[in-house]
Symmetry: D2
């Protein structure tokens, strides 16, 4: 089973990137082949239907679509901006939605977030569900939000709080199990 993971943040020192690295390691430990992408690889302009008409789908969008297509499931680790989906991630989804068939169809998805605040980004994850569901992704009911991310990681990049770490383990085990049993085509 092949899984694709990326953190939907452009900054280098992002808590979401840290969480994505941890999840990637955990998924490998569960036997998955993990493709760990960097959101900077998928650079694309702001969505503009005129630009699409003249220049077609941007290469960064194509690259992102290919990585999603090549995997059985995708894990998005995303910050929350202003109670919603970060503009750059929504922009990527809007471009992706111009490709037919959607690269997301029949794939599983798992959403996670990390944030310095008490809320941990869970509102961004809620706002992400409609678009990805609409594009045919089977989203795990589970999602993982890491609050107070500034204090949450230990030196090895693991989660300090044992109960929280176990919770994440359980979610990922379930996700791997479902992804491997899901055969749509």
């Amino acid at each position: 089973m092949r899984l694709f993971i990326f953190a939907a943040s452009l900054r280098k020192d992002s808590f979401n990137k840290k969480l994505a690295s941890l999840i990637a390691r955990k998924l490998e430990g569960l036997g998955a082949e993990v493709d760990h992408g960097d959101f900077r690889e998928f650079d694309m302009p702001l969505f503009d239907a005129d630009l699409e008409t003249s220049n077609g789908i941007p290469s960064g969008t194509r690259a992102l679509a290919d990585r999603i297509s090549a995997a059985d499931g995708t894990i998005i680790v995303s910050p929350e901006y202003n109670f919603g989906v970060p503009g750059p991630l929504k922009n990527a989804i809007d471009w992706l939605s111009r490709i037919r068939p959607y690269p997301t169809i029949g794939k599983t998805g798992f959403l996670a977030s990390a944030a310095p605040s008490l809320v941990g980004g869970s509102r961004g994850i809620i706002a992400l569900r409609p678009a990805l569901s609409f594009m045919g992704m089977w989203l795990s009911g589970d999602s993982f939000s890491l609050a107070q991310a500034g204090q949450a990681f230990d030196e090895q990049g693991g989660i300090r709080d044992e109960a929280l770490d176990k919770l994440l383990d359980g979610m990922l085990e379930r996700f791997v199990k479902v992804t491997s049993s899901l055969k749509i085509d």
Copy 2:
């Protein structure tokens, strides 16, 4: 494979009930054993934590939980009230969420709606996703919204518009396929 379906409307002459009947027939045609519930069977009081402490989980909630547990997947056909989840359905979900483990864990879900308006209830479906996802349900990315429901049905209770009918068929086939391949426990 066993599927449970109900329309989240209390009124007798509901478009959502009509759509639920059609979907139930289609699912049986796809080889599923279908348990078709009536929302009136799951009568329960308004959620009140004090009432839960004194009287426990209401019998209507238990009945609904048992039907969900006994099936591999659940189909909810729900109207949209004021851009959101109908109060009675949200109330049922709030009571359900007091049962541990959630009866929804590891089950698949498919959401549909019918409405006399042009919008067809899709905003209610969007608002339904977070709660059911949170309770561990794997919701189909597909969902079906029937707009202008007053004119949409033919005399046999089928959908007049052929393309729309085919769209629904495709969604249900995919849902049955995924539900049958999903083995979580």
Copy 3:
């Protein structure tokens, strides 16, 4: 200026009731006449269009509508249930929306929440906005979520954390100012 406030919780020992009492006192301190309702006064059945046809609008709904109509603005202090609006509150809104003109039209609204968790109920508030906006209420951009409510109050029912208490004061001052300047009719 007259303001109506209620906590959308039926249980007696609710953090949201505690927060509503505090906000009521603060609003009185700002010179407002405050009508402090108890959600139990507005008892009503689960929404059912057939019931509306046979029995009309329930008396509990009428009572709630009258209290909203008699005030210039309404403050709702609501828990969050399963990432959304509590079923009983959504049910009340669904019944209210059957009264024409909506009692909420041209009124201001302020939303607050308290919760034992880290999130503080902010996702419930987000989910509340569409329905109330749709019914013509001018909702304050500000909203107040009290996280870890079990530890947040002092013995006098005030907020222990001074900065948080000041934040709430500022929001309420702005709300009173806007409500008093808002003249729609």
Copy 4:
């Protein structure tokens, strides 16, 4: 009273631009001074906190903030992309939210949308509310969604359907009245 309006679409031949022009004319007819912006004037990169650290707030963001600040209220006419806020508009809001104090504080807002579909973009408007509310904007409860926009306009750019046109007139009159009476500072 000064109002700022823009359509959140980059393409030239956008239904949302057409609707923005109509609303601008109507607002002028109601006595408002209208500043009609073009979303292309507010070009900015994808949000990146590292970019903010090195280069500060982009000039396109500053320009947008200045236009909002100079007006008493802002009207955003926005398409709906994938059930949510268009990526480019969310990106602009995310950049705007880095300016303190928010240029949106104490301003009124009115949301409208046009779409070729039956839904008319109303789900995008719902998804817009949390971010703008959070940034202190007082959003009109009313919002206007023009469905089947391909057929909705007459040759003069007016709305063919008289009842719909009147509905919009009423909403705008109310918006102008509230904006002029709202005095926060």
